[in-house]
């Protein structure tokens, strides 16, 4: 089991290393030398030369990459030219907002998706099943920012029930925080619930046909217990996989939702950085998103081994 996890962790670390290369190369695609971008077009040749020497831009590209990677590994993502502060600090400041939003959306996506999937599988080929597939298809096609705007229109403007934006830290004022989070988390989470519902349905249909389900029923096990304890437990692995993907994707989707609901998160930081051509911030955000993806994947791998003894056995 530890061997399985170690080999997965190793290959994910390798992916992360490749992403550092992408992040490094992407920024080098920018027209002009970083010195021209950092110093502006009216910089004197002497200032440019000093800048290039200071940041090692006069050295070969491979040397530059290794030096940059060395700093990144130590947590130094460079300095934001617009904010005039370390990128790491700027990101860490906004990270709680994005993480809160992502996790809230994740809770909604999983609860909604699994419930819909279970219901659709249990009453498959009825109107319930078809209704769920419509809900799921809508989730996969609707632009999240449009859903957000429509929710703002209905809940904040028409009915004045919930705030239209802003962020309150959950540890400062939990009820107010929840009210602020509800709309953005739903706009973000609904999209992923469609995928989770589809996978839950397919996987449950298979599990419900299993012999062990018939055995459980014939033993007189209560129906709810059959569905949740016997069938769903066996349908869990594919559901875990899409759930993991959802958690990874939601963090990226938060970028858009943060803009709609004016939440001061990493996504807003990224979008503002793109408009201001603040490359160090863009680079740092790319690495953060990839790190999140890798961490989520490691967590999913651990859950696999916990939830399915077969994975544990095969691995050892």
């Amino acid at each position: 089991m530890t061997g399985f996890l170690a080999s997965r962790a190793l290959s994910l670390a390798f992916v992360l290393w490749l992403v550092t290369m992408i992040a490094f190369v992407v920024i080098r695609l920018a027209p002009g030398d970083p010195s021209a971008i950092m110093l502006g077009s009216d910089a004197t040749p002497k200032a440019v030369a000093e800048f290039r020497a200071k940041y090692g831009l006069d050295r070969p590209i491979a040397v530059q990459y290794i030096a940059w990677l060395g700093r990144v590994v130590r947590g130094d993502l460079g300095t934001s030219i617009y904010l005039g502060r370390p990128v790491t600090t700027a990101i860490l400041e906004r990270l709680p907002v994005s993480l809160t939003l992502t996790l809230a959306a994740f809770v909604i996506a999983v609860m909604l998706g699994v419930t819909l999937g279970l219901v659709a599988a249990y009453w498959h080929d009825t109107w319930v099943d078809r209704a769920v597939s419509v809900v799921a298809a809508l989730g996969l096609s609707m632009p999240s920012f449009w859903l957000g705007i429509c929710l703002i229109y209905l809940f904040a403007v028409r009915w004045a029930l919930l705030p239209s934006g802003g962020f309150v830290e959950p540890w400062v004022d939990p009820p107010a925080s929840l009210r602020h989070l509800l709309l953005p988390a739903f706009a973000l989470g609904y999209l992923q619930s469609g995928l989770i519902a589809r996978m839950t349905r397919t996987s449950m249909l298979e599990a419900l046909r299993g012999d062990f389900v018939r055995t459980a029923r014939s033993k007189g096990v209560a129906e709810l217990r059959v569905v949740v304890k016997h069938a769903f437990r066996n349908a869990l692995i594919p559901v875990l996989t899409v759930t993991g993907i959802a958690l990874a994707v939601l963090f990226g989707g938060a970028v858009v939702i943060e803009t709609v609901f004016t939440l001061p998160g990493v996504g807003r930081l990224l979008v503002n950085a793109v408009v201001r051509r603040d490359y160090a911030v863009v680079q740092g955000t790319l690495l953060l998103v990839a790190l999140w993806y890798v961490l989520v994947n490691i967590a999913v791998d651990i859950l696999y081994t916990v939830s399915d003894p077969r994975v544990r056995l095969r691995a050892s």
């Binding site: 429509c150 955000t285 890798v294």
Partner: protein, 277 residues
């Protein structure tokens, strides 16, 4: 031939047919739109600001008195251009890389590891980052989306190529002394075509959605040229007074993407009878 097995189910099914008709109608209306409704999408009319939908203004007007209908049509043309180009270029690049990875073992490992790294980054995030280093133009949006989607298509084609490579008819072709290029072009590529069509349909949908997202975030093609995304971006501050300006572009994005998704599912079910339960 394998035809009889794959064509067991005729047609696409009702829902997929409806979405195909819907998509074709939407495209036709957007393409013909400027001839049917000749008001300029950028014509500013100060007296007609923020008028709700009525006979005179079918979808209402925006904060500058511009017709939302005209802007939705013009925005749709941009979305269609971006989506069609992105789809064509992604399928071409993805097939090429996928076939190379699926037939040249030495390159397979390298290409697949690189695609792993691309898949670790959500499509929109990577596209946003690419837009940071390029001018915000339509061509660069297409370029960014192609870069982002190509690894996904390449992976799929590579997987299919590896499967087909082991088929008896490829073995037979090899035994007859067919050149590698002939095996790839004549046997592997045609048999991967159904999957490619399905993927192309999905990419068309994603491209519309992601282009709208980039424009919404202000890193797409610049205004005043309307796009569905930048219309939503301008209109979100007016939700209180003029909800219709945001409602219609979003609705059209939803319809276009939904039709593309359902159509893709329908085509896939038809070519893969196991999935169509």
């Amino acid at each position: 031939m394998a035809e009889s097995a794959t064509r067991r189910r005729r047609g696409l099914g009702t829902v997929a047919n409806v979405s195909l008709v819907g998509l074709v109608l939407l495209i036709a209306l957007i393409v013909m739109g400027p001839y049917l409704y000749t008001v300029s999408p950028t014509l500013v009319a100060g007296r007609e600001r923020l008028k709700p939908p009525s006979m005179a203004h079918p979808l209402g007007t925006d904060q500058f008195g511009r017709e939302v209908l005209a802007r939705v049509i013009a925005g749709g043309q941009q979305s269609l251009r971006v989506a069609t180009l992105t789809m064509a270029l992604t399928v071409a690049a993805g097939s090429l890389l996928g076939l190379v990875a699926g037939s040249v073992r030495a390159l397979d490992e390298i290409l697949m590891r690189i695609s792993d790294a691309f898949l670790a980054l959500p499509a929109v995030i990577l596209a946003i980052a690419l837009m940071a280093v390029r001018e915000p133009s339509e061509a660069n949006v297409v370029l960014a989306l192609v870069v982002v989607y190509t690894p996904r298509v390449a992976r799929l084609v590579r997987g299919k190529a590896l499967l087909i490579r082991e088929m008896p008819y490829v073995e037979a072709a090899n035994a007859l002394g067919a050149r590698r290029s002939r095996v790839i072009g004549w046997h592997i590529l045609p048999n991967a075509t159904p999957e490619l069509i399905v993927q192309a349909t999905f990419i068309f949908g994603y491209a519309i959605l992601d282009e709208a997202t980039l424009s919404f975030l202000g890193v797409g093609p610049p205004p005043p040229a309307p796009s569905w995304g930048n219309m939503l971006s301008e209109a979100r501050y007016l939700v209180r007074d003029a909800f219709w300006i945001s409602f219609f572009p979003g609705l059209l994005i939803g319809i276009a993407v939904l039709s593309a998704n359902i159509l893709g599912d329908g085509i896939r079910d038809r070519y893969d009878p196991r999935r169509g339960e």
